[in-house]
Amino acid sequence: MSDWEPKIVAFLCNWCSYGAADLAGVGRMQYPPNIRVIRIPCTGSMSPKFALAALREGADGVWVSG
């Protein structure tokens, strides 16, 4: 189990956190590779079924960021 790495599905707002992720990339910042980013038009369009669908397909965590 020691080499287990979590899979985290990140639902990021196009205008906020996705921009921040972009900026982090441009700035060559280091962060853990466990997140799988899904860009959504706005966090307001986030539905609980997205989170459930992610878990259903085997995600270990869900992160919603506006």
Binding site: P48, K49, L52, A53, R56, G66
Partner: protein, 314 residues
Amino acid sequence: MLGYIDKIRQISKGLIEDKKVDMIIGFKKGTMPMMNEPCLVKSPKDVEKLVWDSNCGINLANYLTDRKERIGIIAKGCDSRNIVTHIIENKIKREQLVIIGVPCTGMIDKHRLTSMFEGEIEQVTEQNGNITIKGEDFEEILKKNDVLQQNCSVCIHRNPVVYDELVSDLVEEQDVDRYEDVRKIEAMPSEKKWNYFDDLLSTCIRCYACRNACPLCYCPTCFVDESRPQWVGKSDDSIDIRTFHFLRAYHCAGRCTDCGACERACPVGINMRMFTRKLEKDCFEQYGWEAGLSLDERPPLDTYKPEDPDDFIK
């Protein structure tokens, strides 16, 4: 509650005769004990069909969705709150409705009564707060208050919140602890919670009676019927069943009035209100909101206030 019916019939008859409404939505006597069938009355002579007793647990607001006629509707406390929700959500117009308010003293829990007796119940009658249950070889008198639907026994809005006519004096509201059972679950560790709900839903056959009996569930296409993309599998897999119940509850957040129609409709006796009640409790504690009390106030999920709780956000 039995004394109401003459008044209900009299008001209904008047409304139809004066052409104030095209139809009355109420209950008629069912073919089984503890069952009444929702019905539509269009002519004064049919008014005699209407009945009212402690077996009118189905929520009549369910039959209003998108109707165009002028309707007289018989509404107990929870029905009236769902009518308010319907009006707020533009599913019916206030001007179309004549609401015949019925102060309610609770509905009988038919699941529980059925399971209380070995033999078959053939007749259930009520008088002065007592219920007489008759079967082939037994007869028992119980206090009505002891056999209420669970949601009725913790109901704090027994009187209709909006009405045009009232069939009797308002009844006294109860002062009860509404959420004892929800707190019990909140106190469980995660694993125990998971198992609790696994067990709760283990007999679900996905007939969707809970969804369809619910006045809130009027979406033209339910998320379980969506296929592009398909959010939830359609088999009797336990995760898919749980997803259905969980998301349905979410869709009712801030709208559910705990009328109990879902639980009453369930053929296998699942208390799916354990999902909706948690959300109801949260809405009340975090936003001070109870659904369907006022026509003028917007529900918390479509308004924003600076003081909304946000401590779950990093």
